[in-house]
Each structure stands twice: as structure tokens, then as C-alpha cells.
């Protein structure tokens, strides 16, 4: 076929990708949009194979098969609760791919490349490796392979900045004289190092911000590849990814009322010790409640708001949550879900889990939609959420999370909190909510507790109806 069709195939692909993202503006057509995106990718790949320089296909086929097998099996068997880890991991693949393409391009063209192409290649390789190692670190922290606590040492930021600056200098030198392959590879190595060192000092629960940011770097790397190869679908897709990642990380930082700088260099999450001390260790006068007490509260309630948090993901309690909610709805209780923008460990984390448990999405409300409702609600069920329901963020200017918008659960008649212990959440600070008079703490794994509550309700069903 005619290779001059390639750019048209790429145009089609680009349009498909745009439509994919457009479709995500509502759950109704989102799925069709996703399929369209996959189709676009197919078109792009087939188009590429028309490329005259492609002469041998065995490696291509091999790569496609291996990749498809790995990708598909990951997609099929990975639990929804592991989504953040999965995304971090695949960002690292993406970064690696971009970097390797850059290197192979350089190896092939050698010193012959012009300045402009060289600049693009260098950016591609640097950002690619940076994304690769950075995402791997993020993955490790989320998985617990690496400590989630920020690892800090004196002059850390200085060192990172120095490394980064060094890389830029090298970039300049390589562009000035593309022949200097040693410098080129050294720059790649620096990207490799920066990726690790820049992520190490960031707390585990800030990883979502890091991941999104790396997502946008990956996008820029792809765009750079596009500039180097004069390939426009790469530039377009790269630009789309870049903005997406950037916007998401912005939104998250805002939802936590923290600046980018604070997230990236603030080593947030080291605070706990002092904060804990300030809080005077484990708080006093906690209403430790039995399942029976909790059941009593639920029976009395006419309206209930469920506030899920990271804990629901940890104990995979989404199904148990929905079952309890349905049992209550069967008793005529009005049940709504309140999902905080940064509940869990990635944007929309809770929404996906609840969707998995068949909770209809129009029963789920955003912060601004529902925050005034708590005062008018009989009972709130906090399932493994902590920071996002910490009144200190609202009332206590001294608190590290002061100013972060939180749910006003403490304004409800009664609050049931399901968690395993009195330990703090990600931010590592004590939560006044747990010592409020209208709060009942039901300690234990969320899933188990929810099952017990449901059972307890059944037991009393006859009473309730009789």
C-alpha cells in the first residue's frame, strides 16, 4: 500500500483519541469512546507498518504478542483496589518505551542528526528515564516494597536541583555537538537517577500527585519523540496526556489545599511523630462501641450518608458496604454516598470501587453537593476514611492539613467510624472526630464489621417491622 497514507492514518488516530477523552465527560458514552480509542490505536499501528523502513517483522510480532499477553493478563486479573499501583507501573513502561526509542534512534542516526532533532531526542530520553524510575519508585511506595514514609537527608533538595541542572547543561552540550554520545548517555543516566531521588522524599499518600505529574512528563516525552520523528500523532497524544496529568495533579493539590511545591519538596508525612506528641498520644474519652450499639444507631436512623476512604480499599469492603446500604434501604432508610476528591489513593478511587460493588453513580455526591446535608442527617457511616473527615482541617489553624476542604460529618446526629485502630491516617495527625461525643468508634477490619452490622440488622428486622 501507499506509505503516504501513514499521516492520514495518524490523523484518524488522533481524532479517535480526542473523542475518547470527550466521551469521558459522562459515564453514558465513556465506554464507547474507549473502544473508539482502541480502534484509533489499531489504525495508527497498521498505518505505521506501511512504513518503508520496516523490513523485518519477527521482532515486532514478538513484542506485540508478549506485550499483549502481559497487558491483557494484568488488565483481567488485577483487583480494582490495586489500580493506583497498576497505573504507576504502566507509566514506568511508557517512560521506558519512549527512552529506548530515543536511544535506538540516536544509535541509528549517530552524529548525523541536526540540532533540533537532537534536542528533541535528548528531552525524550531524559524525561523517559526519569518517568521510568520515578514511576517505579511510586509503585514501590504504594506496594510497600519501599517505605511509604518520606526519606529525607540534609541538602536533599539541593542535590536534586543540582542533578537536574546538570542534566540541562549536558542537554545543551549534546545539542551543540550531537556527536558527543558519552554525554548523551550520561544525561540519560542522570534522568534515571533524578527519577529515583526526586520521588524518595515524597510521602506514600502523595504518590497519586506524583503519578499524575509523571503522567504529564511521559506525555511530554511522547511529544518530544513526535518532534524528533516528525510524527504528529505522537505530538497530539503527548500533548493530551501532558495536560491531563498536569490538570489532575493540580486538582489533587488544590483538594488538599497544598501547593505543588509543598507536595513535591515538602516531604509531607514526616510530621506524624511531633503531631502525635502534640495530640498527646492516643486521645482520651473515646466512645468505643460494640456492633450492637452501632446496629442500634442504624435502626434509629431515617437518613444515612456513607463516607468511604482509603480503608475501604485496604479491606476491599466495597461490596460489604453496598450490602449494608441495601439492607438499610430495604428498611426505608435514605442512603447516600459522599466521596471526597482525594479519598483513597488516586482521583476517583472510591468511585471505581463503589461502581464495582454496583452502587449507582447517581447515589454518589461530590464535596460541594453534599457537605450541607450532613447537618440534616441522622447518621454517618465512615468506612475507613480519616483525613477527609478530620474537623481539624476546618477548625484548627495549627493542623498540617488546615484549610483542606473536608466533610462536615461531625455535624450529623451520630457518626459511626469503622477502622482497625486509633492510628492516624496518611497525614499522620490525630483526628478530633474520633473523640467527639456523637462519634462511635467500631474498631476492626471494615469488611468484617460491615458484615456483622448487616447480620445484626437482619436479626432485628422483625422488631423493626412489627
Amino acid at each position: 500500500m501507499d506509505p503516504s497514507l501513514i499521516p492520514l492514518a495518524y490523523l484518524v488516530a488522533s481524532v479517535c483519541f480526542v473523542l475518547t477523552l470527550q466521551a469521558l465527560s459522562s459515564p453514558r458514552h465513556a465506554r464507547r469512546g474507549n473502544l473508539l480509542g482502541a480502534f484509533g490505536m489499531l489504525v495508527a499501528v497498521v498505518g505505521t507498518l506501511l512504513h518503508t523502513e520496516i523490513v523485518r517483522f519477527e521482532w515486532i510480532v514478538a513484542g506485540l504478542i508478549v506485550g499483549s499477553l502481559i497487558g491483557a493478563s494484568m488488565a483481567i486479573w488485577i483487583p480494582m483496589t490495586k489500580m493506583p499501583e497498576r497505573i504507576a507501573l504502566s507509566h514506568s513502561f511508557g517512560g521506558l518505551a519512549a527512552a529506548l526509542v530515543g536511544v535506538s534512534e540516536y544509535v541509528h542516526r549517530g552524529a548525523g542528526v541536526d540540532r533540533f532533532t537532537m534536542g528533541a531526542l535528548s528531552l525524550e530520553v531524559f524525561l523517559g528515564f526519569l518517568t521510568f524510575t520515578g514511576s517505579l519508585m511510586a509503585f514501590g511506595k504504594l506496594q510497600g516494597l519501599v517505605t511509604g514514609r518520606p526519606v529525607t537527608y540534609r541538602g536533599q533538595n539541593a542535590i536534586n536541583v543540582a542533578l537536574f541542572a546538570g542534566a540541562l547543561v549536558l542537554l545543551g552540550l549534546v545539542v551543540a555537538e550531537p556527536g558527543r554520545s558519552a554525554l548523551f548517555y550520561l544525561m540519560g543516566a542522570l534522568g534515571f537517577a533524578v527519577g529515583i531521588l526526586a520521588v524518595v522524599p515524597i510521602g506514600g499518600a502523595d504518590m497519586p500527585v506524583v503519578i499524575s505529574l509523571l503522567n504529564s512528563y511521559a506525555g511530554l516525552a511522547a511529544a518530544a519523540t513526535g518532534f524528533a520523528l516528525g510524527n504528529y500523532v505522537l505530538i497530539i497524544a503527548g500533548a493530551l496526556d501532558g495536560t491531563s496529568g498536569f490538570l489532575l495533579s493540580m486538582k489533587m493539590s488544590q483538594a488538599m489545599n497544598r501547593s505543588f511545591a509543598n507536595v513535591l519538596f515538602g516531604a509531607f508525612g514526616t510530621a506524624p511523630e511531633e503531631a502525635g506528641a502534640a495530640g498527646g498520644g492516643a486521645p482520651v474519652h473515646v466512645n468505643l462501641a460494640t456492633v450492637e450499639d452501632a446496629v442500634g444507631v442504624l435502626e434509629a436512623a431515617q437518613s444515612l450518608i456513607v463516607v468511604p476512604g482509603y480503608g475501604m480499599a485496604v479491606s476491599q469492603a466495597q461490596h460489604a458496604t453496598h450490602e449494608l446500604a441495601q439492607a438499610l434501604e430495604a428498611r426505608g432508610v435514605r442512603v447516600r454516598y459522599a466521596v471526597h476528591p482525594v479519598a483513597g489513593r488516586m482521583p476517583g478511587h472510591m468511585n471505581v470501587l463503589l461502581a464495582e460493588a454496583n452502587v449507582p453513580y447517581d447515589q454518589i455526591y461530590d464535596l460541594d453537593q453534599i457537605n450541607d446535608e450532613f447537618a440534616r442527617t441522622d447518621a454517618v457511616l465512615v468506612v475507613g476514611a480519616n483525613d477527609v473527615v478530620n474537623p481539624a482541617a476546618r477548625d484548627n489553624p495549627g493542623s498540617p492539613i488546615y484549610g483542606m476542604p473536608v466533610f462536615n460529618v461531625d455535624q450529623a446526629q451520630a457518626v459511626l467510624v469503622l477502622k482497625r485502630s486509633m492510628n492516624p491516617g496518611f497525614s499522620g495527625i490525630e483526628n478530633e472526630l474520633f473523640v467527639r461525643p456523637n462519634t462511635l468508634m467500631v474498631l476492626g477490619d471494615a469488611k468484617q464489621t460491615l458484615r456483622d452490622l448487616a447480620a445484626g440488622l437482619k436479626g432485628t428486622r422483625r422488631l423493626a417491622h412489627g
Partner: protein
């Protein structure tokens, strides 16, 4: 300044604006599918990898290309499949109006 670069700039700028507009319309409800979706799209670096793996430049290029193809394929195939798996799960009960102000 070279045409290549110039056209690239136009495309990049326009796509950037477009991305901003489109992404900012995605509701928090779908932020996770958005992440895995863009992740799948970023697998487009596949098209670069294919040339590297298929063009018979030299062994190193080919091997690097092979690895790149594998990684990129993992992203696309995995990304689109898992996004689909997620989106399949989103169901609704009452009319969208109930979702509140958008």
C-alpha cells in the same frame, strides 16, 4: 526556523488547548478511568517503537526497539482493556438530574 518544528509547534499548541478543554470537563467520578485511559493512549509511543524494531539498522536498535514495542503494547492493550472493565461497572439508577449541579 524549520517547517518541521513549526508545524509541530502549531499541532502541539492546539492539542494542548484541546486537551485542557476536554479534560477539564471530565467529572471526578471518572478520574480513574481518565488516568488509565490516557495511560492507554500514551502507548502510542508504540508507533515509534515499531520502526525501531522493524527497521534493520543494527542489532542494538532492534533489541531496544523490541523491548520498547513490548512495553508500549503492555500499556495500550492493558490500558484500554482495564479502562473498559472499569467503565462497564458504572451504572445509574435515577435520571442524571439527580446527580446534582454540573
Amino acid at each position: 526556523m524549520s517547517n518541521e518544528l513549526l508545524f509541530g509547534l502549531y499541532v502541539f499548541v492546539l492539542a494542548g488547548f484541546l486537551g485542557y478543554q476536554v479534560i477539564s470537563k471530565v467529572p471526578p467520578l471518572l478520574h480513574t478511568p481518565l488516568m488509565s485511559g490516557t495511560n492507554a493512549i500514551s502507548g502510542i509511543s508504540l508507533v515509534g517503537s515499531l520502526v525501531a524494531a522493524g527497521a534493520d539498522y543494527n542489532t542494538l536498535s532492534t533489541v531496544l526497539g523490541f523491548v520498547a514495542v513490548t512495553c508500549a503494547t503492555i500499556n495500550t492493550v492493558g490500558g484500554f482493556m482495564i479502562t473498559d472493565r472499569m467503565l462497564r461497572m458504572f451504572r445509574k439508577r435515577r435520571p442524571p438530574a439527580a446527580v446534582g449541579p454540573r
